[in-house]
Protein backbone atom coordinates (compact mmCIF):
# COMPACT_ATOMS: atom_id res chain seq x y z
CA UNK A 1 0.00 0.00 0.00
CA UNK A 2 1.27 3.43 -0.83
CA UNK A 3 1.68 5.94 1.96
CA UNK A 4 -0.74 8.70 2.80
CA UNK A 5 -0.44 11.77 0.63
CA UNK A 6 -1.01 15.22 2.02
CA UNK A 7 -4.49 15.30 0.46
CA UNK A 8 -5.25 11.87 1.99
CA UNK A 9 -4.38 13.29 5.40
CA UNK A 10 -6.66 16.27 4.80
CA UNK A 11 -9.46 13.95 3.70
CA UNK A 12 -9.15 11.73 6.80
CA UNK A 13 -8.99 14.83 9.02
CA UNK A 14 -12.24 15.99 7.49
CA UNK A 15 -13.87 12.57 7.97
CA UNK A 16 -12.73 12.65 11.60
CA UNK A 17 -14.02 16.22 11.98
CA UNK A 18 -10.66 17.47 13.20
CA UNK A 19 -9.81 21.04 12.29
CA UNK A 20 -6.04 21.36 12.10
CA UNK A 21 -3.42 23.83 11.03
CA UNK A 22 -1.16 23.27 8.03
CA UNK A 23 1.72 22.53 10.41
CA UNK A 24 -0.31 19.93 12.27
CA UNK A 25 -1.27 18.25 9.01
CA UNK A 26 2.35 18.27 7.81
CA UNK A 27 3.56 16.66 11.00
CA UNK A 28 0.73 14.12 10.98
CA UNK A 29 1.53 13.04 7.44
CA UNK A 30 5.01 11.97 8.50
CA UNK A 31 3.89 10.43 11.78
CA UNK A 32 0.97 8.52 10.31
CA UNK A 33 3.09 7.09 7.52
CA UNK A 34 5.70 6.00 10.06
CA UNK A 35 2.99 4.22 12.08
CA UNK A 36 1.41 2.70 8.97
CA UNK A 37 4.79 1.17 8.12
CA UNK A 38 4.56 -0.75 11.40
CA UNK A 39 1.16 -2.08 10.31
CA UNK A 40 2.75 -3.69 7.26
CA UNK A 41 4.20 -6.33 9.55
CA UNK A 42 0.75 -7.91 9.75
CA UNK A 43 0.92 -8.79 6.04
CA UNK A 44 3.49 -11.46 6.97
CA UNK A 45 0.69 -13.54 8.49
CA UNK A 46 -1.70 -15.64 6.45
CA UNK A 47 -5.05 -15.03 8.13
CA UNK A 48 -7.28 -16.29 5.32
CA UNK A 49 -8.97 -18.93 7.50
CA UNK A 50 -8.70 -17.16 10.87
CA UNK A 51 -11.95 -15.78 12.31
CA UNK A 52 -11.81 -12.21 13.65
CA UNK A 53 -11.98 -11.48 17.39
CA UNK A 54 -14.12 -8.50 18.30
CA UNK A 55 -14.44 -9.32 21.97
CA UNK A 56 -12.73 -11.78 24.26
CA UNK A 57 -15.41 -13.00 26.63
CA UNK A 58 -18.26 -15.12 25.39
CA UNK A 59 -21.23 -13.12 26.54
CA UNK A 60 -24.14 -12.99 24.13
CA UNK A 61 -27.53 -11.36 24.10
CA UNK A 62 -27.09 -9.71 27.46
CA UNK A 63 -30.35 -7.92 28.12
CA UNK A 64 -31.53 -5.97 31.09
CA UNK A 65 -34.89 -6.80 32.68
CA UNK A 66 -37.55 -4.69 31.02
CA UNK A 67 -38.36 -2.70 34.13
CA UNK A 68 -38.75 1.08 34.06
CA UNK A 69 -36.30 2.85 36.35
CA UNK A 70 -35.86 6.56 37.01
CA UNK A 71 -33.76 8.45 34.49
CA UNK A 72 -31.54 11.42 35.12
CA UNK A 73 -33.45 14.62 35.76
CA UNK A 74 -33.88 17.09 32.93
CA UNK A 75 -31.77 19.59 34.87
CA UNK A 76 -28.93 17.08 35.21
CA UNK A 77 -29.00 16.23 31.54
CA UNK A 78 -29.20 19.84 30.36
CA UNK A 79 -26.70 21.07 32.93
CA UNK A 80 -23.69 20.50 30.71
CA UNK A 81 -25.17 21.79 27.44
CA UNK A 82 -23.08 24.68 26.13
CA UNK A 83 -26.11 26.49 24.65
CA UNK A 84 -29.61 26.19 26.05
CA UNK A 85 -32.98 27.84 25.71
CA UNK A 86 -35.53 26.82 28.29
CA UNK A 87 -35.80 23.06 28.21
CA UNK A 88 -33.95 22.78 24.92
CA UNK A 89 -30.38 22.32 23.78
CA UNK A 90 -29.53 24.74 21.01
CA UNK A 91 -27.91 22.79 18.21
CA UNK A 92 -26.12 24.20 15.20
CA UNK A 93 -28.39 24.50 12.14
CA UNK A 94 -27.99 21.49 9.88
CA UNK A 95 -30.21 22.72 7.08
CA UNK A 96 -29.16 25.74 5.09
CA UNK A 97 -31.25 28.83 4.42
CA UNK A 98 -33.45 30.37 7.04
CA UNK A 99 -31.65 28.95 10.08
CA UNK A 100 -29.40 31.51 11.62
Amino acid sequence: MAGLSRSDVEHVAHLARLGMTAEELDRLQGELNHILEQYMKLAELDTETIPPTAQTIELENILRDDVPTPSLSQAAVLGNAPAREGEFVIVPPILGGDAG
Partner: protein, 530 residues
Protein backbone atom coordinates in the same frame (compact mmCIF):
# COMPACT_ATOMS: atom_id res chain seq x y z
CA UNK B 1 1.40 10.85 64.39
CA UNK B 2 -0.20 12.61 61.41
CA UNK B 3 2.68 12.02 59.01
CA UNK B 4 3.01 8.41 60.18
CA UNK B 5 -0.58 7.67 59.17
CA UNK B 6 0.20 8.11 55.49
CA UNK B 7 2.94 5.48 55.67
CA UNK B 8 0.46 2.77 56.70
CA UNK B 9 -1.15 0.24 54.42
CA UNK B 10 -4.92 0.47 53.96
CA UNK B 11 -5.57 -2.58 56.14
CA UNK B 12 -3.37 -1.13 58.91
CA UNK B 13 -5.43 2.05 58.74
CA UNK B 14 -8.58 -0.08 58.92
CA UNK B 15 -7.31 -1.77 62.09
CA UNK B 16 -6.60 1.58 63.75
CA UNK B 17 -10.07 2.83 62.82
CA UNK B 18 -11.65 -0.20 64.47
CA UNK B 19 -9.52 0.01 67.59
CA UNK B 20 -10.34 3.70 67.90
CA UNK B 21 -6.67 4.70 67.69
CA UNK B 22 -7.39 6.98 64.76
CA UNK B 23 -10.34 8.42 62.89
CA UNK B 24 -11.23 8.64 59.25
CA UNK B 25 -11.00 12.41 59.60
CA UNK B 26 -7.43 12.14 60.90
CA UNK B 27 -6.56 9.84 57.99
CA UNK B 28 -8.14 12.21 55.48
CA UNK B 29 -6.43 15.26 56.95
CA UNK B 30 -3.02 13.57 57.00
CA UNK B 31 -3.31 12.47 53.38
CA UNK B 32 -4.79 15.78 52.21
CA UNK B 33 -1.89 17.59 53.82
CA UNK B 34 0.74 15.56 51.94
CA UNK B 35 -1.17 15.61 48.65
CA UNK B 36 -1.68 19.38 48.80
CA UNK B 37 1.92 20.04 49.83
CA UNK B 38 3.42 17.89 47.09
CA UNK B 39 1.07 18.56 44.20
CA UNK B 40 3.14 21.55 43.14
CA UNK B 41 6.10 19.23 42.54
CA UNK B 42 4.25 16.10 41.37
CA UNK B 43 1.01 17.30 39.69
CA UNK B 44 -0.46 13.88 40.43
CA UNK B 45 -3.88 15.40 41.21
CA UNK B 46 -6.18 17.41 38.96
CA UNK B 47 -8.52 17.94 41.91
CA UNK B 48 -7.87 17.56 45.61
CA UNK B 49 -11.34 17.67 47.14
CA UNK B 50 -10.62 18.70 50.72
CA UNK B 51 -14.18 19.63 51.58
CA UNK B 52 -15.75 16.52 50.06
CA UNK B 53 -13.15 14.19 51.56
CA UNK B 54 -13.61 15.60 55.07
CA UNK B 55 -17.37 15.37 54.74
CA UNK B 56 -17.12 11.71 53.72
CA UNK B 57 -14.59 11.06 56.49
CA UNK B 58 -16.89 12.55 59.12
CA UNK B 59 -19.74 10.39 57.86
CA UNK B 60 -17.47 7.34 58.03
CA UNK B 61 -16.52 8.25 61.60
CA UNK B 62 -20.19 8.54 62.56
CA UNK B 63 -20.82 5.04 61.23
CA UNK B 64 -17.75 3.79 63.11
CA UNK B 65 -18.98 5.34 66.36
CA UNK B 66 -22.37 3.76 65.94
CA UNK B 67 -20.80 0.37 65.13
CA UNK B 68 -18.62 0.66 68.20
CA UNK B 69 -21.75 1.13 70.34
CA UNK B 70 -23.30 -1.94 68.72
CA UNK B 71 -20.34 -4.11 69.67
CA UNK B 72 -17.39 -5.93 68.09
CA UNK B 73 -19.46 -7.80 65.51
CA UNK B 74 -20.70 -4.52 64.02
CA UNK B 75 -17.14 -3.24 63.73
CA UNK B 76 -16.02 -6.43 62.01
CA UNK B 77 -18.94 -6.16 59.61
CA UNK B 78 -17.73 -2.79 58.32
CA UNK B 79 -16.18 -2.92 54.89
CA UNK B 80 -12.36 -3.15 54.82
CA UNK B 81 -12.25 0.15 52.93
CA UNK B 82 -14.52 1.95 55.39
CA UNK B 83 -13.01 5.36 56.15
CA UNK B 84 -9.96 4.81 53.90
CA UNK B 85 -8.79 7.55 51.47
CA UNK B 86 -8.87 6.55 47.80
CA UNK B 87 -7.77 8.35 44.61
CA UNK B 88 -9.78 8.16 41.39
CA UNK B 89 -8.42 8.61 37.88
CA UNK B 90 -10.10 11.63 36.33
CA UNK B 91 -12.11 9.60 33.83
CA UNK B 92 -14.30 8.11 36.56
CA UNK B 93 -17.59 9.98 37.04
CA UNK B 94 -18.36 11.25 40.54
CA UNK B 95 -21.70 13.05 40.63
CA UNK B 96 -21.32 16.82 40.59
CA UNK B 97 -17.55 16.72 40.13
CA UNK B 98 -15.29 17.33 37.19
CA UNK B 99 -14.34 14.50 34.86
CA UNK B 100 -11.87 15.80 32.30
CA UNK B 101 -10.25 12.54 31.12
CA UNK B 102 -7.15 14.72 30.94
CA UNK B 103 -8.64 16.62 28.00
CA UNK B 104 -9.44 20.24 27.28
CA UNK B 105 -12.60 19.10 25.51
CA UNK B 106 -14.13 18.09 28.86
CA UNK B 107 -12.98 21.15 30.81
CA UNK B 108 -15.88 22.38 32.89
CA UNK B 109 -17.93 19.21 32.45
CA UNK B 110 -19.74 18.12 35.61
CA UNK B 111 -20.62 14.44 35.91
CA UNK B 112 -24.39 14.06 36.30
CA UNK B 113 -24.10 10.65 38.00
CA UNK B 114 -21.77 8.29 39.87
CA UNK B 115 -19.90 5.52 38.07
CA UNK B 116 -20.78 2.00 39.23
CA UNK B 117 -17.41 1.66 40.98
CA UNK B 118 -18.02 4.98 42.74
CA UNK B 119 -21.38 3.73 44.01
CA UNK B 120 -19.65 0.60 45.28
CA UNK B 121 -16.91 2.57 47.03
CA UNK B 122 -19.47 4.93 48.58
CA UNK B 123 -21.40 1.93 49.92
CA UNK B 124 -18.12 0.59 51.34
CA UNK B 125 -17.54 3.89 53.16
CA UNK B 126 -14.39 4.88 51.27
CA UNK B 127 -13.28 8.52 51.21
CA UNK B 128 -12.53 10.17 47.84
CA UNK B 129 -9.46 12.37 48.15
CA UNK B 130 -9.68 13.66 44.60
CA UNK B 131 -9.16 12.99 40.90
CA UNK B 132 -5.79 11.97 39.51
CA UNK B 133 -3.94 13.20 36.45
CA UNK B 134 -3.74 11.07 33.31
CA UNK B 135 -2.83 11.06 29.65
CA UNK B 136 -5.63 12.59 27.60
CA UNK B 137 -8.39 9.99 27.12
CA UNK B 138 -5.95 7.43 28.58
CA UNK B 139 -3.82 7.56 25.43
CA UNK B 140 -0.18 7.53 26.41
CA UNK B 141 2.52 5.75 28.40
CA UNK B 142 4.11 8.66 30.25
CA UNK B 143 1.36 11.05 31.37
CA UNK B 144 3.02 13.68 29.16
CA UNK B 145 -0.11 13.81 26.99
CA UNK B 146 -2.31 15.27 29.74
CA UNK B 147 -3.81 18.62 28.79
CA UNK B 148 -3.17 19.62 32.42
CA UNK B 149 0.57 19.07 32.49
CA UNK B 150 2.90 16.15 33.11
CA UNK B 151 3.35 14.27 36.39
CA UNK B 152 6.69 13.68 38.09
CA UNK B 153 7.77 10.25 39.29
CA UNK B 154 8.52 10.48 43.04
CA UNK B 155 11.59 8.27 42.55
CA UNK B 156 13.18 10.84 40.24
CA UNK B 157 11.30 14.07 39.58
CA UNK B 158 12.90 14.44 36.14
CA UNK B 159 11.30 11.19 35.00
CA UNK B 160 7.78 10.19 34.02
CA UNK B 161 5.50 8.07 36.22
CA UNK B 162 4.32 6.07 33.21
CA UNK B 163 0.82 6.26 31.84
CA UNK B 164 -1.86 6.62 31.20
CA UNK B 165 -2.80 6.28 34.91
CA UNK B 166 0.35 8.19 35.93
CA UNK B 167 -1.32 10.32 38.60
CA UNK B 168 -2.95 7.31 40.28
CA UNK B 169 0.40 5.47 40.43
CA UNK B 170 2.45 8.48 41.61
CA UNK B 171 -0.14 9.37 44.28
CA UNK B 172 0.06 5.88 45.82
CA UNK B 173 3.86 5.78 45.56
CA UNK B 174 4.18 9.18 47.27
CA UNK B 175 1.82 8.25 50.15
CA UNK B 176 -0.92 10.66 49.12
CA UNK B 177 -3.38 7.76 49.27
CA UNK B 178 -2.96 4.08 50.11
CA UNK B 179 -5.21 3.09 47.21
CA UNK B 180 -6.28 4.40 43.85
CA UNK B 181 -8.15 3.27 40.77
CA UNK B 182 -7.02 3.51 37.17
CA UNK B 183 -7.89 2.03 33.80
CA UNK B 184 -5.79 -0.19 31.57
CA UNK B 185 -6.39 -0.42 27.81
CA UNK B 186 -2.87 -1.45 26.74
CA UNK B 187 -0.89 -1.26 29.98
CA UNK B 188 -2.14 1.93 31.59
CA UNK B 189 -2.29 0.42 35.10
CA UNK B 190 0.57 -2.07 35.02
CA UNK B 191 3.21 0.09 33.32
CA UNK B 192 2.85 3.12 35.66
CA UNK B 193 2.68 0.71 38.64
CA UNK B 194 6.02 -0.72 37.49
CA UNK B 195 7.60 2.69 36.94
CA UNK B 196 6.42 4.01 40.31
CA UNK B 197 7.22 0.87 42.33
CA UNK B 198 3.68 -0.03 43.39
CA UNK B 199 1.27 -2.90 42.77
CA UNK B 200 -1.19 -2.52 39.88
CA UNK B 201 -3.64 -4.99 38.41
CA UNK B 202 -5.59 -5.10 35.17
CA UNK B 203 -8.41 -7.58 35.75
CA UNK B 204 -10.02 -9.82 33.16
CA UNK B 205 -12.07 -7.96 30.56
CA UNK B 206 -15.59 -7.91 31.98
CA UNK B 207 -14.56 -8.17 35.65
CA UNK B 208 -15.38 -4.57 36.61
CA UNK B 209 -18.33 -2.54 35.32
CA UNK B 210 -17.35 0.45 33.22
CA UNK B 211 -20.62 2.29 33.72
CA UNK B 212 -19.65 5.91 34.31
CA UNK B 213 -16.11 5.63 32.91
CA UNK B 214 -14.99 7.70 29.92
CA UNK B 215 -14.49 5.17 27.10
CA UNK B 216 -11.29 4.86 25.08
CA UNK B 217 -11.29 1.44 23.35
CA UNK B 218 -14.32 -0.51 24.44
CA UNK B 219 -13.11 -4.05 23.65
CA UNK B 220 -9.96 -3.44 25.72
CA UNK B 221 -10.65 -0.96 28.58
CA UNK B 222 -10.71 -2.36 32.10
CA UNK B 223 -10.65 -0.77 35.56
CA UNK B 224 -8.22 -1.89 38.22
CA UNK B 225 -6.49 -1.09 41.52
CA UNK B 226 -3.20 0.47 42.60
CA UNK B 227 -1.83 -0.18 46.09
CA UNK B 228 1.44 -0.40 47.98
CA UNK B 229 1.06 -4.10 48.57
CA UNK B 230 -0.72 -7.11 47.16
CA UNK B 231 -3.32 -7.61 49.90
CA UNK B 232 -4.46 -3.98 49.69
CA UNK B 233 -4.77 -4.23 45.89
CA UNK B 234 -6.85 -7.41 46.19
CA UNK B 235 -9.17 -5.77 48.72
CA UNK B 236 -9.77 -2.81 46.39
CA UNK B 237 -10.52 -5.10 43.44
CA UNK B 238 -12.93 -7.06 45.64
CA UNK B 239 -14.71 -3.81 46.51
CA UNK B 240 -15.41 -2.82 42.89
CA UNK B 241 -15.59 -6.08 40.88
CA UNK B 242 -18.71 -7.90 39.74
CA UNK B 243 -21.68 -7.82 37.45
CA UNK B 244 -23.58 -4.60 36.87
CA UNK B 245 -26.66 -4.61 34.67
CA UNK B 246 -25.75 -1.19 33.27
CA UNK B 247 -22.57 -2.52 31.58
CA UNK B 248 -23.55 -5.42 29.35
CA UNK B 249 -19.88 -6.43 29.06
CA UNK B 250 -19.56 -6.94 32.82
CA UNK B 251 -19.64 -10.67 33.38
CA UNK B 252 -21.73 -12.70 35.82
CA UNK B 253 -18.64 -14.38 37.25
CA UNK B 254 -18.46 -14.74 41.05
CA UNK B 255 -15.92 -12.53 42.84
CA UNK B 256 -14.14 -14.68 45.42
CA UNK B 257 -14.17 -13.52 49.04
CA UNK B 258 -10.75 -15.16 49.37
CA UNK B 259 -9.45 -11.95 47.78
CA UNK B 260 -9.87 -10.49 51.28
CA UNK B 261 -8.03 -13.35 52.96
CA UNK B 262 -4.69 -13.69 51.23
CA UNK B 263 -2.08 -15.11 53.61
CA UNK B 264 -0.65 -12.71 56.16
CA UNK B 265 2.34 -14.92 56.89
CA UNK B 266 5.16 -14.84 54.36
CA UNK B 267 5.90 -18.57 54.75
CA UNK B 268 2.29 -19.51 54.15
CA UNK B 269 2.19 -17.22 51.11
CA UNK B 270 5.38 -18.70 49.67
CA UNK B 271 4.21 -22.27 50.22
CA UNK B 272 1.55 -21.70 47.58
CA UNK B 273 4.25 -21.70 44.89
CA UNK B 274 5.30 -25.31 45.45
CA UNK B 275 4.52 -27.36 42.36
CA UNK B 276 3.11 -24.45 40.36
CA UNK B 277 4.11 -24.26 36.71
CA UNK B 278 5.19 -20.82 35.56
CA UNK B 279 5.99 -19.92 31.97
CA UNK B 280 8.64 -17.45 30.89
CA UNK B 281 7.63 -16.20 27.43
CA UNK B 282 10.82 -15.72 25.44
CA UNK B 283 9.25 -13.10 23.17
CA UNK B 284 8.81 -10.72 26.14
CA UNK B 285 12.55 -10.26 26.43
CA UNK B 286 12.53 -7.97 23.45
CA UNK B 287 15.41 -6.45 21.59
CA UNK B 288 16.14 -3.04 23.00
CA UNK B 289 15.10 -4.08 26.48
CA UNK B 290 17.10 -2.53 29.31
CA UNK B 291 19.60 -5.30 30.27
CA UNK B 292 19.41 -4.38 33.95
CA UNK B 293 15.60 -4.72 33.90
CA UNK B 294 16.09 -8.13 32.31
CA UNK B 295 18.50 -9.08 35.13
CA UNK B 296 15.94 -8.12 37.78
CA UNK B 297 13.34 -10.33 36.08
CA UNK B 298 15.74 -13.29 35.91
CA UNK B 299 16.68 -12.81 39.58
CA UNK B 300 12.96 -12.84 40.40
CA UNK B 301 12.57 -16.08 38.49
CA UNK B 302 15.42 -17.58 40.54
CA UNK B 303 13.55 -16.68 43.73
CA UNK B 304 10.42 -18.40 42.39
CA UNK B 305 12.35 -21.52 41.42
CA UNK B 306 14.05 -21.69 44.81
CA UNK B 307 10.60 -21.60 46.41
CA UNK B 308 9.54 -24.70 44.52
CA UNK B 309 7.86 -23.35 41.39
CA UNK B 310 8.66 -25.03 38.08
CA UNK B 311 9.62 -22.29 35.64
CA UNK B 312 9.93 -23.18 31.99
CA UNK B 313 10.58 -21.13 28.88
CA UNK B 314 7.51 -20.89 26.66
CA UNK B 315 6.69 -19.22 23.38
CA UNK B 316 3.88 -16.86 22.46
CA UNK B 317 4.82 -16.69 18.77
CA UNK B 318 2.52 -13.83 17.75
CA UNK B 319 3.71 -11.42 20.44
CA UNK B 320 5.67 -9.47 17.87
CA UNK B 321 2.45 -8.65 16.02
CA UNK B 322 0.79 -7.26 19.14
CA UNK B 323 1.91 -3.67 18.71
CA UNK B 324 0.62 -3.29 15.14
CA UNK B 325 -2.60 -5.10 16.00
CA UNK B 326 -3.19 -2.96 19.06
CA UNK B 327 -2.47 0.28 17.21
CA UNK B 328 -5.18 -0.57 14.70
CA UNK B 329 -7.85 -1.92 17.04
CA UNK B 330 -7.49 0.66 19.83
CA UNK B 331 -7.44 3.79 17.60
CA UNK B 332 -10.34 2.42 15.52
CA UNK B 333 -12.47 1.97 18.62
CA UNK B 334 -11.28 5.32 19.96
CA UNK B 335 -12.23 7.15 16.77
CA UNK B 336 -15.76 5.81 17.17
CA UNK B 337 -15.99 6.50 20.92
CA UNK B 338 -14.62 10.02 20.60
CA UNK B 339 -17.09 10.94 17.87
CA UNK B 340 -19.46 11.89 20.69
CA UNK B 341 -17.44 15.02 21.51
CA UNK B 342 -19.33 17.29 19.16
CA UNK B 343 -19.65 20.43 21.27
CA UNK B 344 -23.45 20.22 21.24
CA UNK B 345 -24.57 18.40 24.38
CA UNK B 346 -21.59 18.90 26.68
CA UNK B 347 -17.94 19.83 26.72
CA UNK B 348 -16.00 22.47 24.82
CA UNK B 349 -18.10 24.13 22.14
CA UNK B 350 -17.10 26.45 19.33
CA UNK B 351 -19.89 27.97 17.27
CA UNK B 352 -18.62 29.96 14.34
CA UNK B 353 -20.36 32.72 12.47
CA UNK B 354 -22.04 31.50 9.33
CA UNK B 355 -23.96 28.54 10.71
CA UNK B 356 -21.92 25.75 9.08
CA UNK B 357 -22.20 22.91 11.56
CA UNK B 358 -19.28 20.99 10.05
CA UNK B 359 -17.08 24.02 10.63
CA UNK B 360 -18.29 24.06 14.25
CA UNK B 361 -17.29 20.42 14.71
CA UNK B 362 -13.89 21.01 13.13
CA UNK B 363 -13.24 23.98 15.40
CA UNK B 364 -14.49 22.29 18.57
CA UNK B 365 -12.56 19.08 18.07
CA UNK B 366 -9.48 20.74 16.58
CA UNK B 367 -9.17 22.92 19.65
CA UNK B 368 -10.37 20.42 22.24
CA UNK B 369 -8.18 17.42 21.42
CA UNK B 370 -4.42 17.25 21.94
CA UNK B 371 -1.82 15.93 19.51
CA UNK B 372 -1.82 12.26 20.58
CA UNK B 373 -5.60 12.02 20.59
CA UNK B 374 -5.69 13.55 17.11
CA UNK B 375 -3.09 11.03 15.91
CA UNK B 376 -5.13 8.12 17.20
CA UNK B 377 -8.46 9.42 15.92
CA UNK B 378 -6.79 9.92 12.51
CA UNK B 379 -5.34 6.39 12.56
CA UNK B 380 -8.65 4.90 13.60
CA UNK B 381 -10.67 6.86 11.08
CA UNK B 382 -8.28 5.79 8.33
CA UNK B 383 -8.27 2.13 9.42
CA UNK B 384 -12.07 2.06 9.36
CA UNK B 385 -12.54 4.07 6.17
CA UNK B 386 -13.95 2.65 2.96
CA UNK B 387 -11.40 0.57 1.10
CA UNK B 388 -9.12 0.04 4.08
CA UNK B 389 -11.41 -1.74 6.54
CA UNK B 390 -10.41 -5.26 5.39
CA UNK B 391 -6.73 -4.46 5.05
CA UNK B 392 -6.43 -2.91 8.49
CA UNK B 393 -9.25 -3.40 10.96
CA UNK B 394 -10.43 -6.87 9.87
CA UNK B 395 -6.82 -8.04 9.48
CA UNK B 396 -6.02 -6.79 12.99
CA UNK B 397 -9.05 -8.57 14.44
CA UNK B 398 -7.86 -11.81 12.84
CA UNK B 399 -4.36 -11.39 14.22
CA UNK B 400 -5.98 -10.66 17.55
CA UNK B 401 -7.42 -14.19 17.37
CA UNK B 402 -3.90 -15.58 16.86
CA UNK B 403 -2.56 -13.60 19.83
CA UNK B 404 -5.38 -14.85 22.03
CA UNK B 405 -4.83 -18.45 20.87
CA UNK B 406 -1.16 -18.23 21.89
CA UNK B 407 -2.26 -17.56 25.46
CA UNK B 408 -5.10 -20.12 25.36
CA UNK B 409 -2.71 -22.86 24.24
CA UNK B 410 -0.11 -22.06 26.91
CA UNK B 411 -2.68 -22.15 29.71
CA UNK B 412 -4.32 -25.29 28.27
CA UNK B 413 -0.90 -26.98 28.41
CA UNK B 414 -0.94 -26.70 32.20
CA UNK B 415 1.01 -23.49 32.76
CA UNK B 416 -0.55 -21.73 35.76
CA UNK B 417 0.76 -18.24 35.06
CA UNK B 418 3.24 -16.38 32.90
CA UNK B 419 6.11 -14.37 34.35
CA UNK B 420 7.40 -11.44 32.31
CA UNK B 421 8.70 -7.91 32.56
CA UNK B 422 5.97 -5.27 32.84
CA UNK B 423 7.95 -2.62 30.97
CA UNK B 424 11.09 -2.93 28.84
CA UNK B 425 12.64 -0.01 30.74
CA UNK B 426 12.50 1.86 34.03
CA UNK B 427 11.05 5.37 34.24
CA UNK B 428 12.41 7.54 31.43
CA UNK B 429 13.11 11.26 31.34
CA UNK B 430 10.56 13.83 30.24
CA UNK B 431 10.70 14.24 26.48
CA UNK B 432 12.61 11.01 25.85
CA UNK B 433 9.83 9.51 23.73
CA UNK B 434 7.50 12.38 22.81
CA UNK B 435 9.18 13.11 19.47
CA UNK B 436 8.56 9.58 18.14
CA UNK B 437 5.07 8.09 18.62
CA UNK B 438 6.29 4.56 17.84
CA UNK B 439 8.98 4.75 20.55
CA UNK B 440 6.26 5.70 23.05
CA UNK B 441 4.04 2.87 21.83
CA UNK B 442 6.86 0.36 22.45
CA UNK B 443 6.70 1.18 26.18
CA UNK B 444 3.60 -1.03 26.25
CA UNK B 445 5.00 -3.92 24.18
CA UNK B 446 4.90 -6.31 27.18
CA UNK B 447 1.45 -5.30 28.42
CA UNK B 448 -0.79 -4.75 25.42
CA UNK B 449 -0.99 -8.41 24.25
CA UNK B 450 -2.69 -9.14 27.59
CA UNK B 451 -5.44 -6.62 26.77
CA UNK B 452 -5.77 -8.02 23.26
CA UNK B 453 -6.52 -11.42 24.84
CA UNK B 454 -8.74 -9.95 27.59
CA UNK B 455 -6.66 -11.58 30.34
CA UNK B 456 -5.76 -10.42 33.86
CA UNK B 457 -2.24 -9.20 34.59
CA UNK B 458 -0.58 -7.79 37.66
CA UNK B 459 2.61 -5.77 38.07
CA UNK B 460 4.50 -6.00 41.35
CA UNK B 461 7.77 -4.37 42.39
CA UNK B 462 10.76 -6.70 41.98
CA UNK B 463 13.75 -4.46 42.67
CA UNK B 464 15.52 -1.38 41.42
CA UNK B 465 17.67 -0.58 38.44
CA UNK B 466 19.92 2.43 38.95
CA UNK B 467 17.65 3.56 41.75
CA UNK B 468 14.40 3.24 39.80
CA UNK B 469 11.71 0.59 40.30
CA UNK B 470 11.35 -2.48 38.09
CA UNK B 471 8.02 -4.28 37.75
CA UNK B 472 7.43 -8.02 37.43
CA UNK B 473 4.32 -8.94 35.46
CA UNK B 474 2.26 -12.06 36.16
CA UNK B 475 -0.37 -13.03 33.59
CA UNK B 476 -3.07 -15.67 34.08
CA UNK B 477 -6.05 -17.16 32.29
CA UNK B 478 -9.40 -15.36 32.28
CA UNK B 479 -10.96 -14.92 35.75
CA UNK B 480 -7.75 -16.02 37.54
CA UNK B 481 -7.29 -12.80 39.53
CA UNK B 482 -7.32 -14.67 42.85
CA UNK B 483 -4.56 -17.00 41.63
CA UNK B 484 -2.52 -14.03 40.36
CA UNK B 485 -2.88 -12.26 43.71
CA UNK B 486 -1.75 -15.46 45.48
CA UNK B 487 1.25 -15.71 43.18
CA UNK B 488 2.04 -12.02 43.68
CA UNK B 489 1.61 -12.37 47.44
CA UNK B 490 4.01 -15.34 47.35
CA UNK B 491 6.59 -13.24 45.51
CA UNK B 492 6.09 -10.47 48.06
CA UNK B 493 6.71 -13.02 50.83
CA UNK B 494 9.81 -14.31 49.08
CA UNK B 495 11.32 -10.86 48.83
CA UNK B 496 10.12 -9.53 52.19
CA UNK B 497 13.69 -9.24 53.45
CA UNK B 498 15.14 -7.67 50.29
CA UNK B 499 16.79 -4.32 50.97
CA UNK B 500 14.85 -2.56 48.17
CA UNK B 501 11.56 -3.49 49.87
CA UNK B 502 12.06 -0.98 52.65
CA UNK B 503 13.05 1.94 50.42
CA UNK B 504 10.83 4.95 49.89
CA UNK B 505 10.79 6.89 46.62
CA UNK B 506 14.11 8.68 46.53
CA UNK B 507 12.89 12.23 45.85
CA UNK B 508 9.99 12.62 48.28
CA UNK B 509 11.94 15.30 50.14
CA UNK B 510 12.43 17.29 46.91
CA UNK B 511 8.70 16.92 46.23
CA UNK B 512 8.07 18.77 49.51
CA UNK B 513 9.75 21.94 48.21
CA UNK B 514 7.04 24.52 47.46
CA UNK B 515 9.56 26.63 45.54
CA UNK B 516 10.98 23.83 43.42
CA UNK B 517 10.20 23.34 39.73
CA UNK B 518 6.87 21.90 38.61
CA UNK B 519 6.88 18.83 36.36
CA UNK B 520 6.13 21.09 33.37
CA UNK B 521 9.14 23.27 34.25
CA UNK B 522 11.33 20.19 34.61
CA UNK B 523 10.15 18.92 31.23
CA UNK B 524 10.85 22.31 29.62
CA UNK B 525 14.32 22.47 31.19
CA UNK B 526 15.15 18.98 29.91
CA UNK B 527 13.86 19.87 26.44
CA UNK B 528 16.03 22.98 26.47
CA UNK B 529 19.18 21.08 27.45
CA UNK B 530 18.64 18.23 25.00
Amino acid sequence: MDTDLTRLLAREMAALLRSGETTSRALAEAHLEVAQRQNHALNAWLVIDREGALRQADAADAVLASARRDGPAALVALHPLHGIPVGLKDLICVEGGQCTAGSRILAGYRAPYDAHIVERLRAAGAVFLGKTNMDEFAMGSSNEYSAYGPVSNPWDLDTVPGGSSGGSAAAVAAYHVPLSLGTDTGGSIRQPAALCGVVGMKPTYGRVSRYGIVAFASSLDQIGPFARDVRDAAALLHAVAGRDARDSTSAPVPVEDELLHLPDGDDEAVAWLRGKRLGLPREYFVAGMDPDVERRIHESVTFLVDAGAAVEEVSLPHTDYGLATYYIVAPAEASANLARYDGVRYGLSRRLEGGDFIADYLATRGEGFGAEVKRRVMLGTYALSAGYYDAFYLKAQKVRTLIKRDFDEIFASGIDALVAPTSPSVAFRFGAKTSDPVAMYLADACTLPVNMAGLPGISIPCGLSEGLPVGLQLIGPAWSELMLFRAARAFEGLTAAATWRGLEPAQLAEADDPAGPTPAERAAALAGSA
